[in-house]
Symmetry: D2
Subunit: 402 residues, 4 copies
Amino acid sequence: MQEIVTLEGHIIDSDLLRRAMSRIVEEGAEFEVQEFRVGRTNEEPSFARLAVRAADPHTLDRVLEALSYLGAVTALGDARFAPAEADGILPDEFYATSNYATYTRVDGQWLEARDQKMDCALVMREGEPRCVKQRLVRAGEAVALRGPGIRLRPPERPRTADGFGFMHHEISAEVNKSLAIRAAAQAMRDTRAEGRRIVLVVGPAVVHSGGDVALERLVRSGWVDAVLTGNAFAVHDLEKALLKTSLGVCQTSGRALEGGSRNHLWTINAINRAGGVVAAVRAGSVPSGVMRALVETGKEFVLAGSIRDDGPLKEVITDVLEAQSAYLEALRGAGMCLMLASTLHGIAVGNLLPASVRTVCVDMSESVPVKLANRGTLHAVGLVTDVGFFLGQLEAELARAS
Amino acid sequence: MQEIVTLEGHIIDSDLLRRAMSRIVEEGAEFEVQEFRVGRTNEEPSFARLAVRAADPHTLDRVLEALSYLGAVTALGDARFAPAEADGILPDEFYATSNYATYTRVDGQWLEARDQKMDCALVMREGEPRCVKQRLVRAGEAVALRGPGIRLRPPERPRTADGFGFMHHEISAEVNKSLAIRAAAQAMRDTRAEGRRIVLVVGPAVVHSGGDVALERLVRSGWVDAVLTGNAFAVHDLEKALLKTSLGVCQTSGRALEGGSRNHLWTINAINRAGGVVAAVRAGSVPSGVMRALVETGKEFVLAGSIRDDGPLKEVITDVLEAQSAYLEALRGAGMCLMLASTLHGIAVGNLLPASVRTVCVDMSESVPVKLANRGTLHAVGLVTDVGFFLGQLEAELARAS
Amino acid sequence: MQEIVTLEGHIIDSDLLRRAMSRIVEEGAEFEVQEFRVGRTNEEPSFARLAVRAADPHTLDRVLEALSYLGAVTALGDARFAPAEADGILPDEFYATSNYATYTRVDGQWLEARDQKMDCALVMREGEPRCVKQRLVRAGEAVALRGPGIRLRPPERPRTADGFGFMHHEISAEVNKSLAIRAAAQAMRDTRAEGRRIVLVVGPAVVHSGGDVALERLVRSGWVDAVLTGNAFAVHDLEKALLKTSLGVCQTSGRALEGGSRNHLWTINAINRAGGVVAAVRAGSVPSGVMRALVETGKEFVLAGSIRDDGPLKEVITDVLEAQSAYLEALRGAGMCLMLASTLHGIAVGNLLPASVRTVCVDMSESVPVKLANRGTLHAVGLVTDVGFFLGQLEAELARAS
Amino acid sequence: MQEIVTLEGHIIDSDLLRRAMSRIVEEGAEFEVQEFRVGRTNEEPSFARLAVRAADPHTLDRVLEALSYLGAVTALGDARFAPAEADGILPDEFYATSNYATYTRVDGQWLEARDQKMDCALVMREGEPRCVKQRLVRAGEAVALRGPGIRLRPPERPRTADGFGFMHHEISAEVNKSLAIRAAAQAMRDTRAEGRRIVLVVGPAVVHSGGDVALERLVRSGWVDAVLTGNAFAVHDLEKALLKTSLGVCQTSGRALEGGSRNHLWTINAINRAGGVVAAVRAGSVPSGVMRALVETGKEFVLAGSIRDDGPLKEVITDVLEAQSAYLEALRGAGMCLMLASTLHGIAVGNLLPASVRTVCVDMSESVPVKLANRGTLHAVGLVTDVGFFLGQLEAELARAS
């Protein structure tokens, strides 16, 4: 038995054609290329029509579904829907979204999904298809089912040789970072020029490594629209502002000093007594730091709670689902995201971003960049380097240009 | 100006004397040893009396406080207390606890603190000193202040050459793990013999690596009293139970397959429709796996939410402070803790355990074991190895012996 | 200005077409697809003819050369040659080989190069093109120049879904290794069935991790034709054989014991006094171990010297160029190569192997497998796992089957 | 049965007493402290006399030998010697040296060993004890045996709180490197002030990361007396000097470009044609780079061969034993050693240095610094960071001060 599928777009340079062919063979099926038109120039899209054959309908279905996630289109038809059985309970045949732009065919019309993000249901809400987290789907809402009428447009790799688009996914530890930092700075300027937001996800190592000084400057010079982080980063930054000497020692040794974590708790206590971060800054009791800069410049910050937290600070959102929603709100309109030494929150944000957002992930180990790169975006760059040095050089690069 | 401090116990082989001397010099102070009696045999404690001198009172205070966290005692006297100013707000001079056994002098009597854990306030509650998380201290409660009347008893390294006590903190990637696994198995038997609990903290890699098969057997043969984990581990385990083939592929490739994460969401949907993990297992719809074994044997499990979660499953505690409290409850009476390929939850639990609990931390990278080892316990062992192989061999070792 | 290039073969699924297009754009040139025929079935090769355009001849040359290493063919014509200026000194325009099968056109005939390996000159010797290391080219020999008349055949990814061919390049730390180990065992059986050799490259961690026991069994049951290693592995293996207790301690602790390295020197001394490894084994003074098994079964081993070596053992080749040549000899006829916890020698061997040899690289960190995978072979698999466990399970897998 | 041992010096703060006690118990023996005088002030040494008891003479011997490597002294008496049996063959009871200063008692006189380094024989040559590599001992020379008459003086941790001496062994990835870099710069100035040499061991990543620019400046401003490296670093540096553009691309992508390694071979060819590095620089054909700076300033460099090498360059010493000897010569008079992103040569040099040389090891992964730290020196600091940034900041720090 066989089925005809078509692929369209920059399917060669976005690697989709190869992945589709591989997947067919891996699943034990076969293909025949019936038609193939390759884009003659840098600008033209390509087109392929394949006949996919399998020994049994089960295999064929599995292949076709896998291909649909690569943007392949089979039979034309409207999307099928079924109602959610209860709040947060989907029909079993629900379609699960990816981070690629998604189109749903309703009454012969292709509608683009709103709030594109991965691992969601595709729900008709107010007449439009939307990506909705499973738990937020309401009983009775029309949930798109897998099968016909859903089409993806994977991001295409730009065919112009600009710095960011053509950087490789992984910039290894052994490489000169200057070019990558210059390209990241340019991408920040491009994002600004497009009127889109720049969001930073930061981990505690930004403070430990001394990168906080440059980050504070980036905030004050307007390069940061929102900071997504947790309790630890905020407390470290505030502790450094309030209790300088002790942190000086900590930075020398890199170890927990005897009794040193009291300063951490003391800071939380002092800030919470003042009514939280915003209140403490407004009362003038925070002499320096990233958190102060965010409050004073009116930029957004979201502190998501984690089970490791001490305190936490008053502004921390302790319910993880609420925190996830707050992150999502802060990511609206983002054109660029920098993830700095943050495993937990970096991966959380990676799950929430559409593939079209330029992403730079900086970490001392390869594992976080690799996890993020596996999400299928062509706009994600991982830099294996020291985040303190990275921030210093990025800030200098942006300051130089302006 | 000077102050006299005394140190007592196995202060040489627990490395406390050296750390005390180092700290004095690092802080720019000086010491003179006035009296020193070293334990003559393996069994006898040692005793040291040092005069600590510093140029100014500020330095002296800093040194003395640092020494107090190493168990050094200065002037004798009752502990001082002040009331918490409000719910969750401590007096600024509060004493911050460590994970060492702590004694508080009240009316000339040394009382041992209950619920020993680090980074807490020491609060008099129901006539006893207790370690209470900052946020759980209530307005008006008597909070111990730093200064006199608080004494620590750091754990002493056993002077007998048994396997577990004398294993080094870090068992590197290049070492034969058989001896360490044998020692871990023996420590599990010892814990059982003492009537104490064995708690496991597990991450998703336990399933990915194939370690779930051995873990299920360990649960069924009674070696596990509680499993502390998050949404991801539970869903992976259940997905493997419900949708075998797809996971088979995943394990071959180690990559997210196109459309593969739908199975993850489908599993959450199916389990939540049934009313959660316990209900699904009781309804007979989970054919295998660790979660099923936990439910069927009536063992405890706690699923702590994180901002990365999909779903989550019904049993997941989404408020991180509630989850922390639930972890704490599950750790009561623990004599041994195995942390298996879990960064987030492993470190969370490391913060909640007293130093006396035997801890084995298994991970493919050195960073998690190193972070845990820096917490000052002499009973923590880190093994850098493949968790799938570790669990298989541990289970075989325990099965062989019984 | 423009040039016409053609690409032929499985250029989509071997990723060559995408890389060619990317490279053209990255270099600032443009392409137009003039003709494209895709293989209609799994079996048929594809064909592409591109017009490449650049603003200046320098850019065009750079692009064409890059494409030639991807197997692209430009103008048809015989290869050009120039004599080596002196021993080890090539004409500046020399062609540098890759690890792909290479064909040279001489008098209108395509001749396949012998001794295919990367980073060599292509020299006519005895009427045939051969890959010869730069330093071994003799004055006056005809050296092929870059330009026309050289054609590559990159290995094609098998289109059947067998285990080894379709394993992904990197098998991450978090994945169940059982399937990969089963595929590796099957590839060993296939290699045997083809009458080709199985060569192992091993590092000291094979002994430290306890993998030596399984390796000795593999040697004795005939699965190993040659072992390429250095002084350290051999001495560790012999020290374990001669001085068991001391190594027992070492394996417990994973640290250099006080005075422990004396055993290392003592072993070298004892073996060299006996006249070397072979003489010591023949004299019956080595009671166990991998080295003994190699000598007794008459299998080849090559010990390459390094600047870190103590001793070294008599059999160690201290000149690195001689050692390289000895490795090359031992690799002749290899159909499979296992690289086990060996950074230095693993990468050395990776440089000497043609892309067609099945390669499995086992290491606890991702960096060695990643470096090897970047060499462009589709038959290299990296496993991030504990080599001790790996060898145990591989040996069990092979023993079970036979 | 029992034996009396004494330990003297700063045995508490150098951690020797604790390690001695641990080792006794680990080996299954017991101890009793007969006398203990602790240094009363920062300046005074301490003294301990222990009775060590074991059940059998074999255990007692093993304990005593282990203690001797910690500087413990047993029975007083002259050292015993036996002649080397043949060139490179020692008597079985030979004493193996450590990297601590070693004294040998000859005719009632304590003589300090020359050429102190680890894993050597202690040979009387020209009337003095010398540390001689096993293979360089000549037949008939008097080789010291283990037992009485050998005394170590482990380096003592300075009791003043200066930057370098009190830096912790490992400066983790998460720490602000500025303080460590300032301390390293100060140690370089101190070394200069003492009239001792500064030796650098460098790996290829110094070039890849862009650190070569700062390194060239350090050489030209006189901060480097010798560079120990291999073929790869030298070729990369020369290739960057000769063929800029191609390296520019390489640094962007971090990957081997198609045909890119031809430039590597081309560089070797060009340099060797000119007669080697020195000749090429003198002929004016190398426009920039570290190698050029070394030749022009007349500083020493040693290129040690490895089995991975292409070429190699004419100056490369291909025999590893000769290379080892050349490294040793270059290390004479060294007061400080910087090891920069070099695994193979860094560890080789670590084996050749006495413990008294200040050592800074910079690498992106923890494993190299950890291996070096395990060698027992209190003057070794490991920095986990990006070597390119490190060199830039070190050079700026040294330039600022002068």
